[in-house]
């Protein structure tokens, strides 16, 4: 159902939904950025549309709404284990088309790679997505190249207009907005400031031995920002915590993990795989544009460009993809100079 909704009516509709739904959207926190007198934009619960920041790209993706940064799994008390509870409320997440594409990839890992993940599935079932149409690309976006520019499979979608919204409601549960019917398409970006070609043919073993990654050994600082801001990075670490007051009681959590960060591959006995940062870059890049696709049929990366936005070392992931493409092209040329 497509309708035009005034600002007031839209907020009234949200107010209605709030009785049943926790709503998540991007929120600007002034002065809370990495650098002094800069802001942070992260996803979190909101209570009205005005709380949300859509002018600037959020530094973090909406994945925290689906996969909590710190997720309590269970408590342990002596030798009993008690499962942690999940919200009983429904969840509505406002997000951009690319991020919605990211959700599909997260589902793939958590629901289709081996058995469905108990905790993920439990929360995921409560979630609906409202796509916010994109009229203009941000710097570093390459969603068009990744084919994740077009909104798909949303529960609702909206275009933000000067004094009203264009609202396309698919899930009837969300049809609580007073407006008039209209026809429109949900905005999406058809051209980014640049486009890249993702190589079809990726010889990961050839690449693993290629020295293209060595530049990152020194450029990358392994901070993990590219992982943490990525809407498709799904790794986690598990943590056990024993309460200081009683060490026989505690809890196990899972928290976002990052393949770029130290200790990711550590195993007992002091062995670490991929201690070179360039190798971690390769591991991540391969996951985003090769092995995930090999396993699930499409690229993991959605081209939101947040990794580029966030990298303090100005490593561009989109350029890294291009470099991989160039290496592969060169290899093909060498093998078949014709």
């Amino acid at each position: 159902m497509k309708q035009i909704v005034s600002k007031e009516a839209f907020n009234e509709g949200l107010a209605k939904l709030l009785t049943e739904y926790d709503i998540y959207g991007p929120v600007r926190h002034p002065y809370r950025g990495t650098h002094s007198d800069t802001d942070k934009i992260q996803y979190q619960q909101v209570h009205s549309f005005d709380e949300m920041e859509w002018d600037e790209k959020s530094q973090f993706s909406p994945k925290s709404a689906v996969l909590p940064i710190n997720q309590l799994l269970f408590y342990f008390v002596e030798d009993q284990w008690l499962e942690a509870s999940e919200t009983m409320r429904k969840i509505l997440v406002f997000l951009r088309p690319c991020d919605l594409h990211g959700m599909k990839r997260m589902d793939e890992i958590y629901l289709n790679n081996g058995a469905p993940d108990y905790f993920y599935e439990r929360r995921r079932k409560m979630i609906k997505f409202v796509v916010v149409g994109c009229k203009e690309t941000y710097r570093n976006c390459f969603c068009v190249s990744m084919g994740s520019n077009v909104p798909e499979d949303y529960d609702a979608a909206l275009n933000i207009r000067d004094d009203h919204f264009e609202l396309d409601i698919i899930d009837e549960d969300l049809a609580v907005f007073a407006g008039r019917e209209a026809d429109f398409d949900i905005d999406y970006v058809t051209e980014n400031t640049f486009s890249i070609e993702v190589p079809e043919e990726v010889d990961s073993q050839y690449l693993a031995e290629h020295d293209m990654w060595r530049e990152f050994d020194s450029r990358c600082i392994a901070c993990g920002r590219c992982n943490y801001v990525c809407p498709t990075c799904t790794c986690f670490d598990m943590q056990d915590i024993y309460y200081k007051e009683n060490e026989d009681a505690g809890e196990r959590r899972r928290v976002w993990g990052a393949c770029m960060v130290d200790r990711y591959t550590d195993i007992a006995g002091g062995i670490t795989f991929r201690s070179k940062y360039g190798s971690r870059m390769r591991f991540k890049a391969m996951h985003k544009i090769y092995d995930f696709r090999k396993r699930f049929g499409y690229n993991m990366c959605v081209g939101c460009g947040r990794c580029d936005d966030a990298c303090p070392q100005y490593i561009s992931f989109s350029e890294t993809i291009e470099k991989v493409g160039a290496v592969m092209k060169q290899k093909l040329n060498e093998e078949d100079p014709a």
């Binding site: 284990w81 499962e83 958590y110 905790f119 986690f236 056990d240 195993i267 006995g269 190798s279």
Partner: protein, 264 residues
């Protein structure tokens, strides 16, 4: 929807020390669905979980042979029989004994990596007639670090077992040298059909497989068992992925035809 993340408490039946630092914990749990080469996630307070290979099993117990490498495993070495361990599993594919029956078999194992293949060796010990030959080369850093000492002596009764050490004090009389040094000496009848297993640290795997290939073993019949950071054991957490392979789901045991595509 079962919650695979929640471990079970299991009582330690027996603790069998091999060396000062390497003990086998025999834990009371149903081992019927367990295969050699599989692993369990064992909870270690203040550290989290650690993937530990099954080094033996029966209907009512599973053995975990663990090296005390410090902080992480220290806790375990304070436990006594009757105490409980929290574990979940088994995970991974493990070795399928059927693949090895009626064939010549060579097993090359280094250090604690003897654990994942111990089940295969035990099977061969008890059923030597089911194999066309069964050789084991197991290497340890030094005489003091030899694991499964009694087992090895016992295996020698029925199998061709070379237990070597990388280095030894003067006066030591056993074989000294890397495991790779002993591969050329193994008597091989039908290299093309011979099944070989390599288990150990990355470098050992690399050179042992090379050496075995030199002996004419074909990659399809060459098996390796990978140690990686299997963290969730469920194909979610990402830590153990190599290329498009999740070791916890698709491994840790691979034919070398597949394994050679795996790299870090």
């Amino acid at each position: 929807m079962t919650n695979e993340y929640i471990p079970q408490a299991a009582v330690i039946r027996e603790i069998i020390p091999h060396t000062e630092r390497e003990w086998t914990f025999r834990v009371e749990t149903d081992g019927t669905n367990t295969k050699p080469g599989q692993f369990y996630e064992i909870s270690i307070p203040r550290y989290g979980e650690s993937p530990i290979s099954v080094s033996g099993y029966a209907d009512d117990f599973v053995d975990f042979t663990i090296r005390n490498v410090g902080r992480v495993t220290n806790y375990l070495f304070d436990l006594k029989p009757g105490d409980k361990l929290a574990l979940r599993g088994p995970y991974g594919n493990g070795f399928d004994i059927e693949e090895f029956k009626n064939k010549e078999v060579i097993i090359v194992a280094g250090g604690t990596a003897l654990s994942p293949v111990r089940g295969v060796i035990e099977y061969a010990y008890y059923h030597p007639e089911e194999f066309k030959g069964f050789s084991v080369i197991c290497g340890f850093k030094s005489p003091a670090e030899v694991l499964f000492r009694d087992d090895i002596e016992r295996w020698k009764e029925r199998l061709n077992v070379i237990q070597c050490v990388d280095g030894a004090p003067e006066g030591y009389t056993g074989p000294v040298g890397m495991v790779t040094a002993f591969i050329p000496d193994i008597e091989i009848k039908d290299a093309e059909n011979l099944q070989a297993i390599v288990a150990g640290p990355p470098v050992m795997i690399k050179f042992s497989t090379l050496e075995l290939q030199k002996r004419g073993i074909i990659d399809h019949n060459l098996w390796v068992s990978y140690e990686r950071r299997m963290h969730c054991g469920l194909g979610k957490c990402g830590h153990c992925k190599m290329d498009d392979t999740y070791i916890c789901l698709d491994g840790p045991v691979f034919r070398f035809t597949d394994a050679r595509k795996l790299f870090d």
